[in-house]
Amino acid sequence: MKPFAFTKAESLPKTLSAKKETTQFIAGGTNLLDLMKKHISQPDELVDITSMLSDKIEAHKKGIRIGAMVRNSTVTLDANILTNYPLLAKAILAGASPQIRNMASAGGNLLQRTRCPYFYDITTPCNKRQPGSGCSAVEGENRMSAIIGYSEQCVAVHPSDFCIALAALDAAVVVTQSNQKNSTIPFSDFHRLPGSTPQQDTNLPANALIHSIEIPVNDFHKNCAYVKVRDRDSYAFALVSVAAALDLKGNTIQEARLASGGVAHKPWRWYEAEQYLKGKEANAVHFKEAAAMAAKDVKPLAHNGFKKLMLQGAIETALQNCLTT
């Protein structure tokens, strides 16, 4: 690891004005330290933001606000979340390990970087790590890679589970810019597709901070599920994951939400399938149709053709689980 200076942020204005390109914020450090150890991030200075950002979960009329420093495990224990937004807890519990969830912050979770194996190996070309060097995965080992929304320059997938649930629930990210002004970015616009600039994962402005995450009030708390298919049952990233949520009246679907991880460079919403489910009876036939609708657009790579079948199966399972769990 390259030597670096370490400071504890004292005040927001000072922190923001002192932030340089070679400075990096550190929250839980569960991703950043690994990136530093592997020489992927090489900051000159780390600014510890843990005591400067909110670690509160606050309910208000329009929804709930999760401070950027709320630990991932805190989200899974919060009574309000468990009652009204259980999908968030389900998704977080499907990821990482208890130790990591205890350290990881909500803000950091949104900014964790892809798990593409080449990204983590500095001896291989990778456009995301080193723009212009090429993409090793596009014609290499791409079993874990994207099946939709990718470019020739990068086929990596977004790794978070939490973010899939946030995408499904139409969350928004409140950011504090370097001029100390807050602005809100809808969740669907927060993460980017790779295009020709895969080095940029998100639309978070340079030197800005994540302040909090807003989740609007919804009626999905009774019927929601998170399915994560992975190579082992704990402590593994998703091959394919699905966050599903249904707002039911009797057995009729008023609204449906479907989002996936492990398929694209950002949490992916299956809008067409959601639209299809609206007004339908909640049953296996419709679930199957919705799943097929989502899967029809995907374009797998050489080694991940299975993801199409898996996606379909996972969507059906998740929708089914909405009715039972």
Partner: protein
């Protein structure tokens, strides 16, 4: 050096592991945890290409880092006498002549070690070493290279292949297994300390201190006794510590160069290329039976990878000759050199791989024959003699393992046809397979030191890699001497103690138990000799006549002709009574063949929508002869079974043919099974001592716990789904696409 030092831990540890308290309190020291005065730190630099040679190494920037003491490369290393020329390098059989060549054989090959005052300085400086290479063509794709590598005979052919060429019931199939890494929890580490010009002390993670000692005595041409190797606590090995690896030598050379003790701990990614792995393999089976299920013939062909600088052959077809009586048998194999580091023995080496193919093929044949796979196996077992050596088995209770396992899992619940039982999206099925392992034994020595308060210290150089060796030693010593476990201390894992073989190949307990029995008897004999001066009755006493208690020895029955140790010690002016004894295999090896065996049964559920496999139940019944310590033995079995689940469902060391090396070589990329992937493993034993193998009658268990697991699970998946999966690991994608 003691496993436990204070009185408290002695009294409480006896029921569990002798080293348990030291381990959980952090008091026990693993190799990297020793504090050595004036120590400095090493960090390895690995090559970034797979084949070629080093043109230049520029260490200027690395040396600028504050705290860097030196950077060793092939250009400035101190010469190892054993590597003086090409012939010596070959003869040394060390494998990679680290820092004694400019050739690159694989990506990640250590080409420099940076030595610095702190680990941080060393690691950072290592990232600044600049290397230019001349690159050459490399081969890392096993599948591609394997197809063009010819096979040759592996062992003698039995009968003929023509004899069963017109057999009616036949299966023919190919099986592939991905490379797997051991990656024990404790990463390999070494502290090398040159006490003087020709005296070396090593704190090192390995499975055999005497092996390490001998290796470096030869390489440096110094007397074996000048080298002390300490490996008192070993955090798992699985075979990775059976060889002496280049990084240990690199550390020793660094210590020599900077004239200070040097500590090196491999990083997790380095663990994937530095200490071996189970090689990737291909197999083909052709197996036939008559209509009653009697096996007519078996053709077993196998290939696995090795490195370009060393030949490693783990003997995949060995198991084909072990379990069943088959009149017509042919085994062929070859190894396939790749630009990867050398593979090595990993739990159940060879047999575990070969067993997957054979036991899968037998299952396939059972469906062809419409016969129960349990019955089919029972019909063909070679229970009287080893089909390979022709010698009678000393003991072989594999049939009892099968019967006991079948009863436990309720095998009768299994449906004869696949895909019959469904619960929602889950298909449920049962599978089984057997495993066997040649039960070996080596020469081992042990010593006992007795104090006048009746307490014993039992010593051997053998390591305890988590297998419970120390605990078993305590159990045996207590049983033979009669002295309670609370009063018996164990010292092991140090080359200054009586020599013993490495802990591996399921021979550890089999070897050391003989020595412990011998030395315990020697102790009794010595006490009797001293006692005979005070009481004539002890003159011609045999060890069977003597009984020891906490405070005295007696003749025949407790209290009879009792002589207190205190009085013996006083009369003979003793301080510590010391005995040493050795024991090893003898002519019984000419009379019998020896085996350990196990039967594995499992019940799985397979999700038809997601491809997920869940193991509901796993039953493992083993014949390990006499079970010296039930807890430790069961722990060996369940650990091996979980290793087997990993091997079957997820473990895969991926190689990228374009990059020319491994990818995903960390714990995010390489998955081994965790608790969430395994049910509670149900372990049972046959509990019948082998009267000939060694004085305790116990046979090794480390390997048979995993041999057979993979086929049992794959066979259960077939029974559940009708999908026959012949390539490991069976990840959800393979289930969906099958």
């Amino acid at each position: 050096m003691l496993f436990f030092e204070d009185q408290d831990s002695i009294t409480t540890a006896a029921e569990g592991r002798v080293e348990g308290i030291a381990k959980v309190t952090g008091k026990g020291k693993y190799a990297a945890e020793y504090t050595v005065e004036n120590v400095c730190y090493g960090a390895l630099v690995g090559s970034t290409i797979a084949a070629g040679s080093i043109q230049a190494i520029d260490v200027t920037n690395a040396k600028q880092v504050k705290g860097v003491l030196d950077v060793l490369t092939h250009q400035n290393k101190p010469l190892v006498p054993g590597f003086a020329d090409e012939t010596k390098i070959k003869e040394s059989r060390f494998g990679l002549p680290v820092f004694h060549t400019d050739k690159i054989f694989f990506k990640g090959q250590p080409i420099a070690i940076v030595v610095a005052e702190t680990l941080e300085d060393a690691t950072y400086a290592a990232s600044l070493v600049e290397v230019t290479y001349t690159t050459e063509k490399f081969v890392v794709d096993f599948r591609e290279a394997q197809a063009s590598t010819p096979l040759s005979m592996a062992g003698k052919e039995r009968g003929s292949m023509e004899a069963w060429s017109d057999a009616q019931n036949i299966v023919e199939a190919e099986y592939n297994i991905a490379a797997e890494v051991h990656n024990p929890m404790e990463m390999h580490a070494t502290i090398a300390h040159w006490i003087s010009q020709d005296k070396l002390k090593l704190y090192d993670k390995n499975q055999g201190v005497n092996n390490v000692q001998r290796t470096f005595a030869r390489l440096f041409d110094i007397p074996t006794d000048n080298i002390e190797v300490i490996s008192e606590f070993v955090g798992g090995g699985f075979g990775s510590g059976l060889r002496v690896w280049p990084h240990v030598l690199a550390t020793i050379l660094a210590a020599r160069q900077v004239n200070r003790p040097v500590k090196l701990m491999l990083t997790r990614p380095q663990m994937f290329t530095a200490v071996g792995y189970r090689p990737q393999s291909w197999q083909k089976i052709k197996l036939a039976a008559d209509k009653d299920g009697k096996f007519l013939g078996l053709l077993h062909q196998a290939q696995h990878s090795t490195s370009v600088y060393e030949n490693f052959n783990e003997g995949i077809t060995r198991i084909a000759r072990l379990v069943y009586s088959i009149d017509n048998l042919k085994t062929e194999s070859s190894i396939v050199p790749l630009n990867l580091s050398t593979p090595t023995w990993m739990r159940g080496p060879g047999d575990c791989t070969g067993d997957f193919a054979i036991e899968s093929a037998i299952d396939e044949l059972s469906y062809v024959l419409k016969k129960d796979p349990v019955e089919l196996r029972m019909k063909n077992l070679s229970l009287e003699k080893s089909p390979d050596t022709g010698l009678p088995w000393s003991t072989n209770y594999i049939n009892e393992c099968i019967e006991k396992g079948a009863a436990r899992i309720q095998w009768s619940e299994r449906k004869a046809l696949p895909g019959q039982v469904k619960e929602g999206d889950w298909n449920i099925g049962y599978g089984m397979a057997v495993g066997m392992w040649n039960a070996g034994r080596g020469n081992a020595s042990a010593a006992i030191q007795m104090q006048k308060d009746g307490s014993l210290t039992v010593q051997t150089a053998m390591t305890d890699i988590g297998t419970g060796t120390g605990t078993a030693m305590q159990n045996i010593a207590s049983e033979i001497t009669g002295i309670s476990k609370q009063k018996i201390k164990i010292e092991l894992g140090n080359s200054t103690l009586p020599p013993a073989p490495s802990q591996g190949g399921s021979t550890g307990l089999s070897s050391i138990s003989g020595a412990i029995v011998a030395v315990s008897k020697a102790l009794k004999q010595k006490l009797a000799d001293y006692a005979s001066v005070q009481d004539e009755v002890y003159k011609n006493a045999t060890t069977e006549d003597i009984i020891l208690s906490e405070s005295h020895l007696s003749f025949k029955t407790n209290g009879n002709h009792a002589i207190a140790y205190t009085s013996l010690w006083e009369t003979h002016n003793l301080n510590v009574l010391e005995v040493e004894a050795s024991s090893g295999p003898g002519e019984e090896r000419q009379k019998y063949s020896f085996c350990s065996s196990a039967a594995h049964f499992c019940k799985v559920r397979v999700n038809s929508k997601t491809g997920k496999v869940k193991i509901d139940r796993m039953v493992c019944v083993a014949d390990g002869g006499k079970i010296v310590n039930a807890q430790a033995a069961a722990n060996q079995m369940s650990g091996a079974a979980i290793g087997g689940i990993g091997m079957t469902l997820m473990e895969e060391q991926k190689v990228d043919a374009r990059v020319g090396g491994l990818i995903g070589n960390d714990f995010a990329g390489y998955h081994f099974a965790v608790n969430a992937d395994a049910p509670l493993i149900e372990v049972d034993f046959i509990h019948k001592p082998d009267p000939n193998i060694n004085p305790t009658g116990s046979k090794g268990l480390g390997e048979v716990g995993i041999i057979g697991c993979a086929a049992a699970i794959a066979n259960a998946i077939y029974n559940a789904t009708g999908k026959r999966l012949r390539d490991l690991p069976i990840t959800p994608d393979k289930i969906l696409l099958a």
